[in-house]
Symmetry: C2
Subunit: 282 residues, 2 copies
């Protein structure tokens, strides 16, 4: 198959798949998701992503029907059906199918499990991103990977219209994260990244980046940093499932970073090595 | 028909209707909606609701295919197909069908139009609501009626579990609105309600309430009020499409209101009269 959509046991080409009008996603965005990439039909960091998926669902009280083990097996089974060996693998759970009503449906209605797979590769780690800054007007549950993504959509569109790769959110002066990535900076040999509170997603790739820092003796400072810190950084690093460790060269049209290429290179090599070890890619 | 689901020209029983897995509502909650009630197959305040619907869509850049006039005709046509003369009439528009990507799809992809009708009546205006208070953790676009409703869902569930009718949101000390209603108070003969900024939906029924105040010589104060003001009010009034002017008797288990029954009665009679004039109901 060229791509794959899965819904509660049925699957087919995404463009042929349909879902019930009463899935609560249709009225409330009532669900959570997770996503990663594959290479050689091997799924990158699957355990980490499935753990976070279960955590997200638990935080908004959605029970997931399969066990973690069964979900991982199912994801691998679906990945094997898609021809391209390099894929974007996405899955979500929604709070069941019921006539529209804000409060949860009866507890005996099962949640719905979705999978979506399309050909896709991680981005070239050595490219340079252009970024824009956008006021962070999102809710206060950004630590949960929910389907309430309208502010992220609008910020991403703004970045695309500006010919940029990502939008950096800030709450007043404090930099939080990007529209679909985390953001960190290197300054005077220290890696700084926002702490894991309710304003920031606990990014899997962010976690890996901190691990590579510790492995390589680079001190980590998980305290809030500001827009000034961002513009004045030695390097600005964007991380996500598809952007393992990509540096920015420009924010709002002003040049940034480029002042700690050796440290950046250590982190990028570590990230590529981990991806290669798990997937045999590159 | 007992109820009705409509999607881009197809319609049937809601429970039989399906929508494409790639509708952007499924991944981002990328759409806006509006809703009202009918009686005798006549739609209450249709012009107001359709105007707000177009405003909401415009604010997030979703073009609506039919004109306002054609949409109103379509809604009436669908209302006529449902047996019950008293209905909950709901419609929404989503930002087209395309493979998942945060930024908007190509501009030539049309938006999707949805309608959902189920039997339903406005609530008894003379009942008393029990409310709970909940910290308002929503985004800063509450003036747009979007499908990003997870915090509203969770607050409504909390109210239901507490045996209450609605949840009152507050940002620190400031009362904003309820999970799916506006809230106002009467104090010393003045009606106070939150101003129309980005923290509050411009409720159609809220607008009607202010109109009834002006008609009846009741001064209106549209400035923020606090939790203390709420608990200390002469009357607490909840308004929505289904709750035309319902007073609360209890918030977080403490008795509230009941101290300005004559003013309350004037407003309730005005609200009922308007509904009756437009629909012939009651």
């Amino acid at each position: 198959m060229e791509n794959l959509g899965y819904y509660n046991g049925s699957f087919g080409l995404i463009e042929d798949m349909k879902i019930p009008m009463n899935d609560r996603v249709c009225y409330f965005g009532d669900g959570v998701y997770d996503a990663t990439y594959t290479a050689n039909h091997l799924i990158y960091s699957l355990d980490d992503h499935v753990d976070r998926f279960f955590n997200s669902a638990k935080m908004i009280g959605i029970p997931i029907v399969p066990s973690k083990k069964d979900l991982k097996n199912l994801l691998q089974e679906m990945v094997n059906k898609v021809d391209s060996p390099e894929q974007f693998l996405y899955w979500q759970v929604t709070r069941g199918t019921a006539i529209r009503n804000h409060a949860y449906p009866e507890s005996d209605i099962p949640s719905n499990l979705w999978i979506m797979i399309k050909p896709g590769s991680i981005k070239d780690i050595y490219q340079k991103f252009k970024l824009i800054t956008v006021e962070d007007t999102r809710y206060f549950h950004c630590n949960i990977k929910t389907l309430n993504l309208l502010p992220n959509v609008m910020a991403s569109q703004k970045a695309a219209e500006a010919g940029c790769d990502e939008a950096v959110f800030h709450r007043e002066d404090r930099v939080t994260e990007c529209a679909h990535s985390n953001i960190s900076i290197l300054k005077n040999g220290v890696l700084r990244t926002a702490p894991l509170d309710n304003l920031v997603l606990p990014g899997i790739t962010r976690g890996h980046l901190l691990h590579f820092c510790r492995q390589n003796g680079i001190p980590v400072d998980e305290s809030p940093f500001t827009l000034n810190d961002l513009m004045d950084a030695d390097e600005v690093i964007v991380t996500s499932a598809g952007a393992l460790c990509i540096a920015a060269s420009e924010i709002d049209g002003f040049p940034v970073g480029g002042k700690a290429p050796d440290l950046l290179n250590i982190l990028q090599k570590s990230a590529l090595k981990k991806f290669q070890q798990e997937t045999g890619a590159l």
